[in-house]
Amino acid sequence: MPKDQGIGARSKRREDVRFLTGAGRYTDDINVPGQTYAAFVRSEVAHGKITKIDTSDAEKMPGVVKVFTAADFDGKGGVPCGWQIHDRQGNPMLEPKHPILAEGKVRYVGDAIACVVAETLEQARDAAEAVVVDIDELPAVMDMKAAVKGGALVHDELGSNLCYDWGFIEDNKAATDAAFETAHHVTTLELVNNRLIANPMEPRVALGHYNRAMDDYTLYTTSQNPHVIRLLMGAFVLSIPEHKLRVVAPDVGGGFGSKIFHYIEEAFVTHASRLINRPVKWTSTRSEAFLTDAHGRDHVTKIELALDKDGMFQALRTETYANMGAYLSTFAPSVPTYLHGTLMAGNYKTPHIYVNVKAVFTNTVPVDAYRGAGRPEATFQLERVIDKAAREMGIDPIELRRKNFVGADEFPYQTPVAVAYDTGNYQATMDVLEKIADLAGFEKRRADSAKKGLWRGLGVNCYIEACGIAPSNLVGQLGARAGLYESATVRVNATGGIVVMTGSHSHGQGHETAFPQVISEMIGIPESQVEIVHGDTANTPMGMGTYGSRSLAVGGSAMVKATNKIIAKAKKIAAHLLEASDGDIELKDGKFTVAGTDKSVDWGSVCLAAYVPHNYPLAELEPGLEETAFYDPSNFTYPSGAYACEVEVDPDTGKVTVCAFAAADDFGNVINPMIVEGQVHGGLAQGIGQALLEGAVYDENGQLLSGSYMDYAMPRADDVPFYTVDHSCCTPCTHNPLGVKGCGEAGAIGSPPAVVNAVIDALQRAGKTNVTHIDMPLSPSRVWAAIQG
């Protein structure tokens, strides 16, 4: 019988009840008495000098409280960047100021120039239109390769558009180049990892509330990590000490990375509220979201793979141009570097790897982490070049991968790109895939498609990712300006119920359901006795939030650590009550027993004794039962998997239909399979979206052409099939207490190459052997053009 409680149970989500009845509490649902509304005046040009801002007409409009410009933020900092990269020569990256409101220059369409705060939203929007801004337009810096050669500068004071030129690992370069010299075969592929827009369904919202009587601030914001926002905004932008600043991220409607970052609007509403002594609320429209939420990906890459005559990988070399956009978003510099270069070994034993990344400023929205962040870019190029190599060498693509896999007996495996994989079993994962995808039946399905006049193709690939971000001392050496531990306070109440205050943040991941499963398992009490509190800096310990598939691996570990402290103390109390030694106390099913006897006391009685300490060892033990733990991981975790996609291509129109998608993942141990499968499904849709539909497109003047759901194709229900997902191949993580690896990003990392490989396969099988690559998204027009040759 499947478990109905604890680790491994498919517990239904308790948070669903409020979401299904309209009782969720998202940031825009919150209103504060006396609240005003903000409407930004944003640049309509990509690049230019501001010659005049005239707010006088706007100020006279009905309901206007104040019109803000950069002058109102004199002496305040810009929004900071949280990661510093050093270039090949060891010099720090170029780092421009990112002011709250534009100072002198605008640098992308959507850059905030001024902001009207008014009594109603309509009044604020009407008055924003009356603000007159004169801009001397400058040439827009759009093409990355051209941008580093000279011409217009996004930031004049930096003297270059090249943020950094990074080599990884620089010491590998000579040996890698040498291996290419002697290689039997070299496969080269140039490709684009298309620019994407995260598009969580809830647009961003920020509500700042300064309380003059208390001289403190509350910011309600759509964030994946309220403590990070408090730290960055308090310490670096507005100089507000943390005890005077509370940041609340209540129910958040999806993030996918785009709600990690500290945005100017958060600092704006917080400071503006102080200046006018009233709460200020800003709610992004979707159009504004397209123009201002950090975008993702946008890499232009050349990758080369050297192989020997048997197809064994000898060396790998890449050169990537990574778009930073106009300013450095919070974690932008880390994405194409340490979240990308470190993954270039993939699931394979390639002895020599060298990665070069040039990060470039352009007149576009800042680019930062989007689901997978660097790892999808690494996986895509690697798995595409392997597929191309397989074709060139006449080796079956699955066979070529299997030949080069790190063997199950070779873990821990030190890659040439710094990281050491703790566990994995890539052959076994591929075995699972071959079964669940029924690869043996492909030829028959292909024949069936052919009868309908459609070209069927099969794409297979693997992925590895580094999750559970991250060991603080390591990332510190790599340039992170923060620690990446996680925290939990476990508070046991007198009657035995438990509240866990976690630094992790749930914006769809189901922590409120999954975290209690862990505690229920550890103590042996029903899940319903455990409640999770998150998202409010006022009542949770300092935590780094949720991204990089880290909640369970890092936040969950902190919770386990704190719970172990609770259990240790509770055993002492139980020992006192049972007149035994605490070393002899066993906890099972919510009951403390003296080993080898029938003497026992239940969980509730121990908790009561802790808070009503009448019969209690007060001389040795404090009353109460509450513990906090911080957990700092000793390594990343390395989920991995093998994915297969089957497509049908309509040769007359170029339209691609995904007929089947199978994902075999190794996530280590799984707490709630239902939630894990849901995470994979969502990632797959985003990856299929990237491969076939999505693309943020700018014209040469820096206008965003794909600025709404009419122009930016989001995957919809009839763009995707039912997926087949499986996580039965399980090699538990060796260095965290739950043995978990993280599952949030896998789908988005592993699926784009599978889709593209499948389309190329379909075309190749149909005789279009000259088509070796098509850049994403594989829209009908691109595929049709490729078919025409």
């Binding site: 498919r10 299904l20 009845t21 369904m201 979707r286 989001m714 995957p715 009839d718 039912f722």
Partner: protein, 161 residues
């Protein structure tokens, strides 16, 4: 400002609205029914779907002032009288048809409208019907499954949940 009166979730309500006030805004700001969400400004995402006189509509495309006398049902009106989840809601929970919950009210309202019209839809019909509702979290697998389950069809054979 115009006065409008409607029946929302079975209750008579009224309020003063501007000509440009959208039904979504009236529900959220005027009546405090924040279950109806606004996810876009081009009438594409479906987070705002409610029922007006029995029809599913996007409440971001209707003016409140035009709906004097209308009968409106929002997500807040979908539970059973005893507060337990209604059939579609329950199916969404049972089949994990939601993650962040932001698209969910619109999805539920849209799915309920489909089932009222077509009590036993096929998978293709469900997918086609939900084209106007974007979900960024679930990849639609479990939403489609939930809708099929809510229609009383056996979803046990559908690939791993």
């Amino acid at each position: 400002m115009t006065k409008v009166s409607m029946t929302v979730n079975g209750k008579a309500v009224s309020g003063e609205v501007e000509g440009r006030t959208l039904l979504a805004t009236f529900l959220r700001e005027g009546l405090g029914l924040t279950g109806t969400h606004v996810g876009c400004d081009t009438s594409q995402c479906g987070a705002c779907v409610v029922h007006v006189n029995g029809q599913a509509i996007k409440s971001c495309t209707a003016f409140a002032a035009d709906l004097d006398g209308a009968k409106v049902t929002t997500i807040e009106g979908m539970a059973n009288p005893d507060g337990s989840l209604g059939t579609v809601q329950q199916a969404f929970q049972d089949h994990h048809g939601l993650q962040c919950g932001f698209c969910t009210p619109g999805m539920v309202m849209s799915a309920a409208a489909l089932l009222a019209e077509n009590p036993k839809p096929t998978e293709a019909e469900v997918r086609h019907h939900l084209e106007g509702n974007i979900c960024r979290c679930t990849g639609y697998h479990n939403i489609v499954k939930a809708v099929l389950a809510a229609s009383g069809q056996d979803v046990g054979q559908i690939a791993a949940e």
